[in-house]
Symmetry: C2
Subunit: 483 residues, 2 copies
């Protein structure tokens, strides 16, 4: 066969053979091959979701997750595996029951928002006023007094950015405080999510210390629509009975879990790969954020196994309590304050496992370097690099001190599952997971090995952090430093 190959074909054949025996000369191709070959991230995610289960901050599940992460990181060959203390609130959901009792009895599907106050065991019964915006709420003035306010903005649309989520999330986060200011007795919000399978989406909210704390719950899209239609039908006042029994238990000593792949000649310089270990309690947090944990862990595993590791250290940080206050992120930023100047880049994977399209980098000055590093991902469709305004939530407390980047993932179905009881392992796809690992591996290795580094630019100011549990008292928000 060799005899009949042209010179060009012979070269191609040899390259193929070399690749096939693992002797590719391109480090990026080797890393990609390793990412796409074994599919280890998918298995790591299965172990965390099925094996550990739900892991809301302060829970037994979260404690199991910390132990799991330590064991898993050691098994993956990381060095300097350890926990770092994080004090977290322990909010316990309790029961959530709601029913439309007039003009027609209909069971609703609701979940308390964290950290809602309870209604009391007998619940609250009141007429509902529905608004589509904060402006509409203001306009009804005293009309909200004694009422349950339903925030029912236009349905969230699928999209490629977080903008629609942000639009709905504003009501989840601030609806109760705004409603309380006008005398409402409880707040219901249309779920910040896509999909319509009678599935309410939980999430964090925040109270305003100047106004009474009123119970707050998310309702499924169907129930928001139902109440909207019932009000529109003028069959009479729409009356709802709402029972929420959440409570705070004492703060819990929990932990971030950290492991490293030490750099070969500048081990003190760090590329941070982050994700968050906690999940909401309604399911096993597969897309949010077991996927992210598994992707960064597998990326670091592949870098650790590379014949020639990068110059700098790749540090994996699995943050505790992203969902209810960013306590882990703040603890990390405080504990490592002196070392942040040595963090050459930080990437958090926290938008699921959808196929990667590329990366965002805070600050236009970093685009050129990141484009060069990501170029080998072009065939996988993951080489697009853009300037981003912000990156992962757990990077916020490091804002302005560390170069931040994010991975752009396909979000088409992410908000169907996000913060719901359906965020389970079956939502993950082995190939999409592996493509994310390939992208993160190539970029993390590249940043850890490059001669240049990304410029440090403060991200655009983000909304208020959701820091409202008891643990807030013990752990004040660091003043964001801006350059």
């Amino acid at each position: 066969m060799k005899a009949i190959l042209s010179h060009g074909k012979r070269i191609a054949f040899c390259a193929l053979a070399a690749t096939a025996i693992g002797a590719s000369d391109s480090p990026a191709e080797r890393l990609m091959g390793a990412a796409l070959g074994e599919g280890r991230a998918y298995k790591i995610a299965e172990s965390l979701t099925d094996g550990v289960g739900p892991r809301p901050s302060g829970s037994d599940g979260a404690a199991r997750a910390v132990k799991w992460a330590v064991g898993e990181m050691r098994a993956l060959g990381f060095k300097n595996v350890h926990t770092e203390p994080v004090r977290v609130p322990h909010w316990i959901r309790g029961a959530a029951d709601a029913e439309v009792i007039a003009p027609a009895r209909q069971q609703m599907h609701v979940v308390a928002l964290g950290p809602s106050v309870p209604t009391g065991p007998d619940g609250i019964t009141a007429d509902v006023v529905a608004v589509e915006s904060f402006e509409q709420l203001k306009a009804i003035g005293d009309g909200a007094r004694g009422k349950i306010v339903l925030f029912n903005p236009p349905a969230m649309q699928r999209g490629s950015s977080f903008s629609e989520y942000g639009r709905l999330q504003a009501f989840r986060g601030g609806g109760a405080a705004a409603a309380a200011k006008q005398g409402a007795v409880a707040a219901l919000v249309r779920s910040a999510g896509t999909g319509a399978f009678r599935l309410p989406h939980t999430g964090a909210m925040h109270y305003d210390e100047a106004t009474p704390k009123i119970p707050a719950a998310a309702v499924s899209a169907e129930d928001a629509d139902l109440i909207g239609r019932l009000i529109g039908s003028r069959r009479g006042p729409v009356r709802v009975h709402l029972v929420l029994t959440p409570k705070f238990d004492a703060d819990v000593e929990s932990a971030n879990v950290v492991g490293e792949v030490p750099g070969r000649d500048r081990p003190g310089e760090i590329v941070l790969l982050g994700a968050h270990l906690d999940s909401w309690d309604l399911a096993t947090g597969a897309v949010d954020d077991a996927a992210g944990c598994a992707i960064v862990m597998d990326a670091a595993r592949i870098i650790a196994a590379a014949p020639r590791g990068p110059r700098r250290t790749v540090r994996v940080v699995l943050f505790m309590n992203e969902e209810m206050g960013l306590s882990g992120a703040r603890a990390y930023a405080q504990a490592h304050a002196a070392e942040l100047g040595k963090h050459v880049a930080a990437l958090e994977v926290d938008s699921g496992q959808g196929r990667p399209a590329g990366f965002g980098v805070v600050g236009a000055g970093g685009v050129a370097l990141l484009k060069k590093i990501a170029a080998p991902l072009a065939t996988l469709g993951a080489a697009n690099v853009v300037e981003a305004q912000e990156a992962g939530a757990d990077l916020m407390p490091m804002g302005g001190k560390v170069a931040e980047l994010s991975i752009d993932q396909d979000l088409t179905s992410y908000f169907d599952w996000h913060h719901t009881a359906a965020d389970t392992f079956d939502k993950l796809d082995p190939m999409d997971m592996a493509l994310n690992v390939a992208a993160v591996t190539v970029v993390a290795y590249g940043l850890a090995d490059a001669g240049e580094t990304l410029p440090v630019v403060a991200p655009a100011r983000r909304g208020p952090p959701m820091l409202l549990g008891p643990a807030v008292v013990t752990q004040p928000v660091p003043t964001p430093a801006r350059k």
Copy 2:
């Protein structure tokens, strides 16, 4: 303008003008225009779902639905509006709670099947054995003794027929009896439905009088997958705690609701348009079967309002208790036994509201006539006519005595919502509803006005009817008559 039109164009122009002012000479076009213009069916369905709410047999909601139907039929201009007595079982769901307790604690999402027996308030705790088929169950022999059997066949695929549903439904219907025969203490079945939003699908099941009655519940696709994976992971026995507290209350006197558009010269001959008034209790039964009720009611309204009605009577029958025993269907067949020979056709709409593609008719001999009648629906894509093996469940007790037909509806999303808490009004689409009304109106009018009639052919033998509540005792299954 007239001066420059050719003869042919002038004719076309006049026909267009005539149609535009409601003077179309084609009865079918007039009927279609009326169906597609007002969108009344959508409003009827809203009133039944939002206004009446869930209406499982024997419930207050079902009683309200009967009153609603009588009032609505009168408002729509039907004649001879009345109820016909139906004795129904009154099964009350109670609580359903299940948790995987080993090897990892995970809350499950389950619903009792109707009419499951209860577990007792403390529930049942047992190891789970999973099978994909009845053959696998047989093969494990004594291995099911003392266990909870999970029927976890390959996931149901979307399709254009009921065959996939039938494949899964077999386990829902007969799984508990088969498992009990091998000594199991409870049966769980993978939900007979598509979609995966942690949404269990309820439905009817039947016990075998020769074996003990064991509790039976449907689990969400996610939970079936989870247990499958946990067993596959060999982390140890998978143990589940299951609590179901359903109960039977006393039988209830309920009713079918009947109304007519009398024929202009053969009022004793009947085209029956059926749907079922009861729903499952988890939601408001929008696709199953408020849509069907609204479609046949609006079709009859349009026929009643036609300038020249058809020769025969169009009778709308809203059957009670399709879901838990076909009591209404049996009561109708018994009460009208002497009159069935005068039913020239019976059509039940009970597969949602997906866009119609045409009709099925039991017996090849009816295809030609139905094709002729449905021809004006070609532009709407609803003129396809095929021979069908069976038609609506409520027509079963009339099997072999009446010519049966069915409407072929797009089923792509039907089994996402079917028998779940997400079967709510928002799942309906005004235009799709109206297209169904147009199709049913044209065919019902055509059959009621035609010189010929469809031949009566017995449908293929269907599975065992689900007749297992106390009401069965008072209302034995009629022996199906076959010609």
